[in-house]
């Protein structure tokens, strides 16, 4: 969040007005009966930071990917096994796709984890939805990694 504070002597513009009232929320680290223990790690801080750092990298990787696959050179028309083989002949594009796969999956999984935490109110539902999410994420990342590393242009 912004560290900016309004100092009455020099600054008369408030961050909040009728259109944009200050939110009234409980202190985020307040302990309740349901959450009596304080958290022991900074996992959520690192998750928050990861979303922003991976986000910046993904803007480049994913928009570049879309440009190549869906915009340049006939759009989707050209895509096929031969096109994939041509691109993965280069270690550069293999690395591009590998980094994009890992960052996008982890970024997406962490995003969905947040969404599940927000909307699944029953602890059991939350638990199972997140386990399903983690299983699908591990499976997809490993499958994608395997495919990039074992790709064989002469499979047939």
């Amino acid at each position: 969040m912004s560290a900016e504070t309004t100092t009455p002597a020099t600054e008369t513009v408030s961050l909040y007005d009728v259109d944009n009232p200050a939110p009234v929320i409980a202190p985020p680290r307040a302990r309740t009966k349901k959450t009596p223990k304080s958290t022991r790690t900074n996992f959520e801080l690192y998750g928050w930071l990861f979303m922003r750092l991976s986000g910046v990298v993904l803007v480049v990787l994913v928009l570049g990917h879309l440009l190549i696959q869906l915009v340049l050179d006939g759009g989707v028309s050209k895509i096929g096994f031969a096109f994939v083989a041509g691109r993965w002949a280069s270690p550069f594009w293999q690395a591009w796709d590998l980094v994009m796969l890992w960052l996008a999956m982890l970024h997406g999984a962490n995003g969905l984890r947040t969404v599940i935490n927000d909307y699944a109110e029953r602890p059991k539902t939350r638990f199972w939805l997140k386990n399903l999410l983690y299983a699908a994420t591990v499976f997809t990342v490993l499958l994608g990694t395997l495919v990039i590393f074992t790709f064989d242009p002469n499979i047939r």
Partner: protein
């Protein structure tokens, strides 16, 4: 407006809602996309067959929708980073959202023909 709610409407809330919705949609597509790409390890025919569905008019239009979702999520994500790390970010969040929407509209107009050309050529001839 109920007391104590975080939902305050306007640019701040709706951009957050759109960021969530597009994020979830993109994640589900990514899951499917890794699975379809994995078919290159089965056979060239299996891969080309599933890619053929990506070239049908309906799915081609959905690809334009995917581009729309990703472009919004990318541009608004940069806005979120600016809100978090730029000292004046929170104050200019509305202006930044309208900048995001403007850039998004320009890029979507530019992407219209390139992304949909396969369908346009198939349906209306070259």
């Amino acid at each position: 407006m109920p007391a104590g709610t975080l939902y305050r409407g306007r640019e701040g809330m709706w951009s957050w809602v759109a960021h969530r919705v597009t994020g979830v949609l993109i994640f589900f597509f990514l899951f499917v996309h890794v699975l379809d790409t994995a078919l290159v390890r089965v056979s060239p025919e299996a891969y080309d067959e599933v890619v053929a569905t990506y070239k049908t008019p309906l799915v081609n239009v959905m690809e334009y929708g995917l581009v729309a979702a990703i472009l919004f999520h990318a541009l608004n994500g940069l806005r979120v980073i600016a809100v978090d790390f730029w000292s004046k970010g929170a104050r200019y969040q509305k202006q930044m959202l309208w900048s995001v929407v403007t850039i998004w509209l320009v890029l979507m107009a530019g992407a219209f023909y390139p992304v949909l050309q396969h369908t346009l050529r198939t349906l209306f001839g070259s």
